[in-house]
Structures are given as structure tokens and as C-alpha cells.
Symmetry: C2
Subunit: 454 residues, 2 copies
């Protein structure tokens, strides 16, 4: 009975309208299966139009002990925004996509309000229209929604410059499991009145409340940007190159790393790197302290090859952003995808160990990611289905051994819920559970996400 | 019986040693009265040496229902780190000053671990020794401790550039009221495994746990800095000048504002401004995009006077940092000090309204602060003792009317606990209380701070 009973469905239809409660499997399917195709649950899909409707839906669900999983663009990679497979509790998948309004940019206060369902691209467009920028960017920008990005504390390619999504949140509106509406909505840079609950909701993956609107900090648009693709012998050399560029006085706006296997793979798919090197660094900078080529020359023999482009360099970024889809198409089995981070002095170590692990197992490893954050996306291709759990677990344990995080920017969701012990100790988990119980005493908020047992 | 009974005192002496439990009033006095001299409580002062001792002290206090107020450098301005006056519960003031170790800087990972009792200045020194910087700075740097700064989420003069103290916290160690030690201590830029409890502890003012150690993010030292003192006709003009400088491609490292009354006051005390203007802006920039004077010229008639200095400009900063002490000496009664923020387009409005309020009441107003953050320190001088509460309340209500915050960077403590309703609504306060109860079920952590009723 994962779809709530007829009385509850009737109540939900009364709140959001008949057409916005989807119970037919084929109509609801695109919501109930996650982007990776790995996670499918059962639920009634409910599509409220605004915060008031979300509050009424939450009240109805609380009254009938219906589990609720909020969903934004359904671009998550850890099964965090689809119901738990096989769980037969009555369940609502609460789609926030209709809450997609982006407000007027406050140019003086440098902020903009956006509904949870607004796409990242729409926020970028609004900011750009006011000569400003939003400090978070990622490849799924046309689908990923602001609510989901805050709920997972998304990272992405600009974090080295502007911080994570949490750091962009000036205000938040969220519906608590009780249906009460939590609101902090002041365009203030400093506001220390009690606990910073927006920072707690950021990254809570729908387990505490339903985020409905967010007031986002905007930043000045980057001036005088340049992009370089730099070939280096290894990851450590690429790290030295970024430090050398930084020492020239420029700001690093992004520092992405691609290993040989991935660059070769996208080359075969038609997106060619401009040279043939072991490791490729994509570095984007801002600030006009001379020619970027000079800064690269100062990096000496760490630079094997380099191509510098002024302004937004679509080709360089295409090389990087083609990885995910190319990898998905190239593997004979579903790709084992792990989003991890390690201390900056262990990145080379991680990449080497993963390569050795893959070689020993006879599978292919493609690694790329956000070098400046120590955040590597590990992709294992052609792993037989029966070996996938073991392979993932081995990588996560390796990361834990290196003092890293089993979830850098994708979150825990359901995919890593059983592995939380690799990243948090018992005291920490107990404190998290105490907070979960305090804000969601009946346990209806996204059960199965973050915490493995319901 | 604000000093715990003899059995508890004996237990505490057994943990930290006889000499580190202070129960004689004259010995304990410097801990039990706050920096402003307004708040005095009664307690046994306990000075543990390390985290293990803090944990044992907390266990002893929990077992005997002893209230605990953590204290760092005792530089707070809202009575947050001294016991509640007149409260006769058994109480321990837990001084963290002995936990003052600053670890080795991790140059590659750009971070450093510091004990809660380490001063801000000692962290600055460690960072500078490695060619890096810590992103938070404030005038009380020689006394303010890292633990207190995290517990209050201190702001200061660099926030416009590097964010608040919360944003600098990569890892944290804290003792929960149970005596359990909470630890996240990985030098990672991205680590999304469940709730971000360090962000919750930051700004919790000792009401949830005792922070014992912090792993702090470091940033590159600013290159090619310059400082300008700029005279403008008013605050709004000063805001336009900072935007104009920013548009030149420089990074704003600090943007401080001083109104005429304060500049005249410090001039009379011997620290003279280089010109005679209505409002004085101190702006510090980094980046070498030409002469700062040119950027000021581009601001046109908004600049009435300007003096530019290259490198660290001690005189300009002395003008700004002399305000607090000069004001304290100049008032015939204790200064009514309020730390507030408003939306950036309301700063001029706030300053004008406070000036009018002071004029109508026949008292003097000195206003200065962090222009880039909309954070103004309102000081009312010569307010008769009987009128002080009313005067403070009028300013806070004015700030709330302007959509501002009654506490920008100093926190709530006990001074503003009764005014929390001006900044947070009932749903918000209830959520905060639920979290407080979840992590501190017996209510022993700093009762009276943030929440007015015990």
C-alpha cells in the first residue's frame, strides 16, 4: 500500500487539485525512478503549487503517518529523492517543481529569492540579468533545482571560489513535518539570533523539512576570466600548477582535473583535448595580472602542455562536462559512481590506488573532479553486476583510510546510508538522530535517506 | 548556592587539580564579570587543561545538575559567557583558556587546528608563519579566543571577503552535556555526510556543547593591499564608492564606516583623521589593477576627500579601532551598545533614525561598523541609567522595523535574550528549543543565554 489509502488521496486532491496527484504508475514513473535508474519506489506523486499547499499536504501526511520524500529536479545520484524501494508504508513523493518562481534581483542587497523548483540555470539567468552571478554552478544546471541543491548542499565547479550552496543561503522558507512554516527571509549578511537553522537544513536531504523557497546570495560577476587546459604528468603536478597561478595574484575560479582514461574516452566520442598528456587540468581564473601564459611558464616543468583561452572557453569546459554522459555510454554495465573527497595532499594517492584497484579487478577506472576541493568522482566501468556493491565498498573504505569523506557533494541518500559509519562516529550519529527526532518526531520525512534503518 | 556543594567541588578538584577550581570571590571575579562590567554571576570557576578534563567536568556537572557556562577570552559584549545574575542554581564557569594550543599549519591542506582557548592573534601568527592568513579578524584579537569566536560566530572586519567564522570551520571537537566527545576532524573542503553539526554549534553560544578544538580553514595572504580613507557626504555615498572600487576589479578586503560624531571624538582623544568630512569610509583592497586613486576618481563627486596608502595602513586602522575605547571613556554613563544589521539599502536610513532618536533624547550617538555587511555598531552615550533599557529597546525595534537583525555579530547572550522575538518568529524559536532539548535534555548548558526562561 505504498500509495496512501483513498481517503488520504482524496484529501491530497482537495489540496493540490486532481491533476496534481499522480497515482497511475506510468504517469508517475519519471518521478519514482531516480536519474541513475537504480532506485525505484512506490508513492503517490503530489505536485503542490505553493508553500501553502505544501503545508496542507504535510498536515495531511502527518495526520495519516504518510512518509514524504521531497523531490526537485530528480538529478541526484544517491537515491535521496525517490521512495525507499520495497517499503510498503503509505508514501508521498512531493515534487517541488511547480514552485519555480525566481524573484526580482535585489541589486543593492545582492540577493534573489527563488522557489525550490527553480532550476539553477534560471537563477543564473536572473543574476546575469542584473550584472551579478550566483556562486554555485554544476553540469546539471538545466534540471537541478535550487531546493534540491540546498537540501543536498551541492558543491560543483565554483566552490573553490565562492563556497558550497550552504554558504549562499541568506534566507530560507521550509515546511516542517507538522505543517508549520519555518521562515527566515531577511537579506542580511550578518544575523546571529540563535541557531543557524538554514545551515542545518542545508544538506539535510529532506529528512527534516521541505524547503520551499530560498533567498540566495549573489556575487559580482567574474571579470577578466581566462581558461587554460594544462597537461601535467600527474595530479600532484596539477596541484602545484594551480598554486603557481594563484601566486601570480589571480583568483582561481575553477580547477578541474581529468585523468588520461577519461580524456581518451571523450576523445573517442569526439571531444578532443588539444594535446596528449597524462593528466589534464582545466583552470579558470579571474583578475588581470598579466598573461596567464606567463603564470604557467612560472610553473616550470610541471606544465607539459598548455592552451590558454581568454573569456569563457566552451571547448575546454565541454571536454570536462562530456565525461559523465560519455562514461555512462561506454560501460557494459551500470557505472559504479562514487563521489568522494580526500585531504589535498592525498589526492594523488587516491587516484593511484583506485587505478591499481581497477587494474587488479580487470575493470576500467575514470576519475575526474574538483581538484581544488580534493573532490574526485570515481567511476568504475564494466564492473559485473554481482561485484558492484563490493567494488563500491572497497573504494569507500579506501577513502576512509585516507582520511577522506565518502560523500563530498552528492550526499548520502539511500545509496550510502549503510556506509555513514565510515564517515561519522557513534557520538556524531547519535547527535544527528537526536536532531532528526526533535524536528521530525514521527519519522515521516524521507525515511531511509541518511539513516539506513527507518 | 551558586557555587556547587562541597562534594561536587571535591570531584571537580579531582579532575582539574586544586589550583584550577576557583571558588574565592576575589580570585574568580575577573571571570564572573563580563567585559562590559554589566553582567556578574556566581559560580565555581573551573579551568580544565584538555578535552578529556572537559569531558570529565561535564560528566560531573550532568550527574549533579550543575549549570555550565563556557568562557573563552571573556571579550563578549552580550553577557553570554558569565552566569545568569541572581540565579542560585549550582553553577560552573568553564574557562577554556588553558586549551590554547595552536597546531602546525597544514600548508597543502590550508588549515590549522587550534584549541578553544587559543587567541585569534596566535592563529593569525601561525597562519602568517606559513605564508597564509586566517579569514576572520577583529579588534579584540589579542584576547578573543577561537572557541568563543566559533561559539558566537564572530564577524569582524574581513567578513565581506572571507565570510563569517562559521565559514572557516572545517572541523570541530566539542564535549556534549553528557560528557561524550563529538569529533569531526578531517581537513576536507567537501564532506556531506549527514547534518552539518559544526555549522549548528557555530553561533550556539555554549547552549549545546563545549567547543574544545577547531580545525580552521586558512586562505592565501592578501597580495598588493592598499588602504584608503575616503570622506563622503553620507553613508549611501560611501556605499557607492565601495561599489565603484569593486568595479575596478579590485577585491574589497574591508569596508568600514565611521560617522562624524565618532571621528570627532577620537580626534579629540588624539587620533586625527586626515581630513574633515561628514562620513569617513575606510576601505582596504587587494589586487593590482592600477592605482587606487584612479578608482576613487571614477567615483566622482561621491568622494569629497581621500587619502590612499599602500600596504598595511596602521594609522587608518587606528582611527577605526580607537572608537570602542574612546567611546567608553567619553560617556558619563555606561554606553548603550547595540550591534545590529540592516539590508544594505537601509543603512543610511538606520543611521539617520538613530541620530534623530539621540537628538530627541538629548544624548549622543556614535555609529560605526562594517559597511559591506550592513552591520552598524550603535553607541548611545550619556543615557541616564534609568533610561538605558528603554533606549536599547527603541533601537532594536527600529532595526526590526527596517527588516534588520537585532544581533549582527555579537550574539544574543543574556543581554538580548528577551528580544529574540524581534528577530525570530514562534515556529523558528520552537524549532530552536526542540534542538536545544534534543542535545541538552537536562538544560545544563549555559541556561539564560539565547533563551530567556531557563
Amino acid at each position: 500500500m505504498a500509495i496512501p489509502g483513498p481517503d488520504v488521496v482524496r484529501a491530497l486532491r482537495g489540496i493540490v487539485g486532481d491533476t496534481h496527484v499522480l497515482t497511475e504508475p506510468d504517469v508517475a514513473a519519471s518521478y519514482l525512478t531516480d536519474w541513475t535508474g537504480t532506485w525505484t519506489g512506490e508513492a503517490a506523486v503530489v505536485r503542490p503549487a505553493d508553500t501553502a499547499e505544501v503545508a496542507d499536504v504535510m498536515r495531511a501526511c502527518a495526520a495519516h503517518s504518510v512518509a514524504v520524500t521531497p523531490q526537485g529536479g530528480n538529478t541526484g545520484l544517491v537515491g535521496g529523492s525517490t521512495p525507499t524501494p520495497g517499503d510498503d508504508r503509505p508514501w508521498v513523493l512531493l515534487s517541488l517543481r511547480r514552485l519555480d518562481t525566481v524573484g526580482d534581483v535585489d541589486s543593492q542587497g545582492r540577493c534573489v529569492g527563488a522557489g525550490a523548483g527553480a532550476t539553477l540555470a534560471s537563477v543564473h539567468a536572473a543574476a546575469a540579468g542584473a550584472g551579478l552571478a550566483f556562486g554555485v554552478d554544476l553540469a546539471a544546471r538545466d534540471s537541478a533545482t535550487i531546493g534540491g541543491m540546498v537540501a543536498t548542499n551541492a558543491g560543483g565547479i565554483r566552490m573553490i571560489r565562492h563556497g558550497d550552496t550552504r554558504a549562499q543561503v541568506l534566507g530560507i522558507e521550509a515546511v516542517l513535518p507538522s505543517g508549520d512554516v519555518f521562515t527566515r527571509w531577511r537579506p542580511l549578511r550578518k544575523d546571529n539570533v540563535g541557531y543557524h537553522l538554514p545551515a542545518l537544513l542545508a544538506g539535510s536531504e529532506g529528512t527534516l523539512a521541505v524547503i520551499t523557497r530560498v533567498l540566495l546570495r549573489l556575487v559580482p560577476a567574474a571579470a577578466r576570466t581566462a581558461v587554460a587546459l594544462v597537461g601535467t604528468v600527474d595530479v600532484a603536478a596539477a596541484q602545484r600548477v594551480t598554486r603557481s597561478i594563484e601566486a601570480s595574484g589571480r583568483l582561481i575560479e575553477a580547477a578541474e582535473i581529468m585523468t588520461r582514461a577519461g580524456v581518451d574516452l571523450v576523445a573517442a566520442a569526439g571531444v578532443r583535448a588539444p594535446f596528449d598528456s597524462g593528466t589534464t587540468l582545466l583552470v579558470e581564473t579571474a583578475g588581470d595580472t598579466g598573461d596567464l601564459s606567463e603564470a604557467l611558464a612560472a610553473a616550470g616543468s610541471d606544465v607539459v602542455d598548455a592552451v590558454v583561452e581568454a573569456g569563457p572557453a566552451r571547448e575546454a569546459w565541454r571536454l570536462r562536462e562530456s565525461h559523465t554522459e560519455t562514461i555512462a555510454r561506454s560501460s557494459t554495465t551500470p557505472v559504479v559512481k562514487l563521489d568522494v573527497s580526500v585531504p589535498l595532499d592525498r589526492v594523488q594517492d587516491l587516484v593511484d590506488r583506485v587505478d591499481r584497484l581497477a587494474a587488479a579487478a580487470g575493470v576500467r577506472a575514470v576519475q575526474f573532479g574538483h581538484l581544488g576541493d580534493g573532490n574526485i568522482h570515481v567511476n568504475l566501468l564494466d564492473v559485473p553486476l554481482d561485484d558492484q556493491c563490493t567494488a563500491a565498498d572497497r573504494v569507500l573504505r579506501m577513502v576512509a583510510d585516507l582520511g577522506g569523506s565518502i560523500s563530498a557533494e552528492h550526499g548520502i541518500g539511500r545509496a550510502k546510508a549503510a556506509s555513514v559509519g565510515l564517515g561519522r562516529d557513534d557520538v556524531d550519529v547519535a547527535a544527528m538522530r537526536a536532531i532528526k527526532s526533535a524536528l521530525d518526531p514521527c519519522g515521516i520525512m524521507n525515511p531511509g535517506a541518511i539513516f539506513a534503518d527507518p
